[in-house]
């Protein structure tokens, strides 16, 4: 299905000023009509990847393909891609209507059609009636929505969204998340969405790319990435997690926190040192006798849906627990969990090795 690959990066590196390497050999393929998210900490190269796709920058080495065509030297105005900029980049000398209409006017679309399409786009971002406002008279969140309207109105094949919801309040943000996802599915366009916010990434994406320091750490569906993080970085970045050192005694037997547990992973060397991840919501508070690990509750925060307990075991490892019930601060409690809740991460395993091992061992279970 090579036809369905809309964007391909082939070992792309990007170096600024001949010494700062921002992207260190990034390769990926994006399928047409899917919702992708680039997730990673500030400065990891998310915007840089978007700039390479949009055509504002050229790769230092490697190739970028759009629709199977190498586009390293194709200027931005000749690419079927539109961007929602991180800083909105709205034209201050034009009003809201003209900002949204800019791309259509360049394409010499008829005035009547421009009116209809701009109205549609503004309606989509809940800004009907704001046509004649100056940009300076709009709030940050409203500007962000004008920027979204300005990109989608052109009906491009690919839409790049650089943290497009960061300035919105929680309610509007959730609403826009639903609407963007709905729009993407309705139009069947490829969306590449950048965010810091892992919950947003998990909620919206078909596939997530977790980036760190110019490398793709892991890519996969939200469920894959959440359930099987490849390393400490990903586990830590995607949701809260408890990460402790452990030893893989043999397949399906792991030792950590001073005990040996059954688990569902394998394929490692006997007695290999590994990292163990258990998600806070997979830990259940019980009596000390019934628990697999015995901990003391250190602090407790009410988070709305659940209580977040910070607890410590005898070795001094911290265990975060999400519990629906209150616990007593200072009390000794037991923590129980299923073998499936234990996720094993090998140190320095690459994504390919990880996938191969996972394939071999999940089939058996």
């Amino acid at each position: 299905m090579a036809n369905d690959i809309i964007i391909r990066f082939d070992n792309v590196t990007k170096t600024y000023n001949s010494n700062t390497t921002v992207l260190k050999g990034v390769s990926f393929e994006l399928e047409r009509g899917k919702f992708y998210t680039l997730l990673g900490p500030s400065g990891c190269g998310k915007t840089t990847i978007l700039r390479l796709i949009a055509g504002f920058d050229t790769p230092t080495t490697g190739d970028v393909f759009i629709n199977g065509k190498r586009v390293n030297d194709v200027p931005a105005n000749e690419r079927q891609v539109n961007t929602v900029f991180q800083d909105y980049a709205l034209f201050p000398h034009l009003n809201v209507f003209e900002n949204v209409a800019f791309g259509l006017r360049i394409k010499k679309i008829k005035e009547a059609e421009i009116k209809v399409r701009v109205a549609e786009a503004l309606n989509f971002v809940n800004l009907t009636g704001y046509e004649n406002r100056e940009i300076a008279e709009m709030s940050g969140g409203q500007r962000q929505r004008v920027a979204i309207a300005r990109a989608i109105v052109n009906d491009p094949e690919v839409i790049l969204l650089d943290e497009p919801l960061s300035a919105l309040d929680l309610k509007l943000r959730t609403e826009m998340q639903y609407e963007l996802r709905e729009l993407q599915q309705r139009l069947g366009k490829t969306f590449i969405f950048v965010t810091h916010d892992q919950e947003e990434a998990l909620a919206m994406s078909d596939e997530i790319f977790v980036l760190n320091e110019g490398n793709i750490q892991q890519s996969g569906t939200p469920v894959d990435i959440y359930d099987e993080p490849i390393n400490r970085f990903v586990a830590d970045f995607i949701g809260e997690s408890n990460i402790v050192n452990g030893i893989m005694l043999e397949d399906y037997k792991v030792q950590f926190a001073g005990e040996v547990f059954d688990c569902v992973d394998g394929g490692m060397k006997p007695n290999e040192k590994i990292d163990v991840v258990i998600r806070p919501e997979d830990l259940h508070v019980t009596t000390p006798e019934a628990g697999k690990i015995i901990v003391r509750v250190d602090t407790q925060l009410f988070r709305g849906v659940h209580y977040e307990l910070s607890t410590y075991d005898e070795d001094g490892n911290e265990w975060l627990v999400h519990s629906l019930k209150r616990a007593e601060v200072g009390a000794q409690v037991g923590l129980d969990f299923e073998p499936e809740a234990i996720h094993i991460m090998r140190l320095n395993e690459t994504e390919e090795e990880f996938d191969a091992r996972l394939e071999a061992y999940t089939n058996e279970v």
Partner: protein, 267 residues
């Protein structure tokens, strides 16, 4: 609060009264006196004779030429300056000559353009006869443009420098070519800088007289030289003031013409 803000206006009002209103009043007053100090409107009648009207037109024409060439040179220069690595240093280097006294620079050009100056020396190297460069329209416009360039570059540079570079990317992203981006985004966003540049060039260029005399050698008769002549040579303060009144009117008109408009509307 109200009292305080009014009190703080007093020095400003004094300044305006002493240095703006009073001189203009004096000029108006003198413009209505004849050579014997009697009241007359003859000076105004005089101004509408072909001699003075031609002079006004010539002034306009030269001021226009000077402003035009200054703009044509300054805009691209300012644009490339903003792209340079050490842009503020380069800007400084362009501004520094404007600190040197105008008279000195003018004399320097007399030396450069003179019959025995370096320009003619180069012409001779190529086997041509020395040319009279001084006292031509060309040398007048050239020197004036040279002098005004820094004043034009500064506001344009500031406007370009202030512009968010993402806007250019956004325009390209939306399908605009480099030229369309310039026409629809960069130029409209820097038009205010261009307008202030035109103001600081066109208005002084209308009343140039020293360069006119020294470089153009009395060939170019502009309103500036006419005023100077009326006051210093003909001793006809009335006529000199009348020309000055019209010069002031023209200045106001050109300021209105280049004033900042409200933003908005189509690209």
């Amino acid at each position: 609060m109200k009292f305080k803000s009014k009190a703080s206006l007093i020095p400003y009002l004094l300044w305006v009264a002493l240095f703006v209103i009073a001189p203009i009043g004096l000029i108006l007053y003198y413009s209505m006196l004849d050579l014997n100090g009697d009241f007359t409107l003859a000076n105004y009648q005089n101004f509408f004779t072909p001699a003075y009207l031609t002079m006004t037109l010539t002034s306009f024409w030269y001021a226009f030429l000077i402003t035009f060439f200054t703009l044509v040179i300054s805009y691209p220069t300012a644009y490339f300056l903003t792209k340079m690595k050490h842009k503020h240093l380069w800007l400084m280097l362009i501004i520094i000559p404007s600190w040197i006294n105008l008279l000195l620079k003018t004399y320097a050009f007399i030396g450069i353009f003179g019959l025995y100056g370096p320009v003619n020396a180069i012409i001779e190297v190529f086997g041509f006869d020395p040319k009279q460069i001084l006292f031509t329209d060309f040398s007048f416009v050239f020197v004036a443009v040279y002098i005004f360039i820094p004043f034009m570059i500064i506001p344009i540079f500031n406007a370009l420098d202030k512009m968010n570079p993402s806007l250019i990317y956004a325009s390209r992203d939306l399908g605009a070519s480099a030229f369309t981006t310039f026409r629809r985004v960069i130029f409209p966003l820097t038009i205010e800088g261009v307008k202030s540049g035109i103001q600081v060039t066109f208005i002084p260029a209308l009343s140039l007289f020293m360069i006119t005399r020294l470089i153009a050698g009395n060939k170019v008769i502009t309103l500036g030289t006419a005023i100077e002549q009326q006051f210093l040579v003909a001793q006809n303060w009335g006529m000199g003031s009348t020309i000055a009144v019209f010069l002031i009117l023209i200045m106001f008109a050109s300021m209105l013409f280049t004033r900042t408009k409200k933003k908005g509307g189509r690209a």
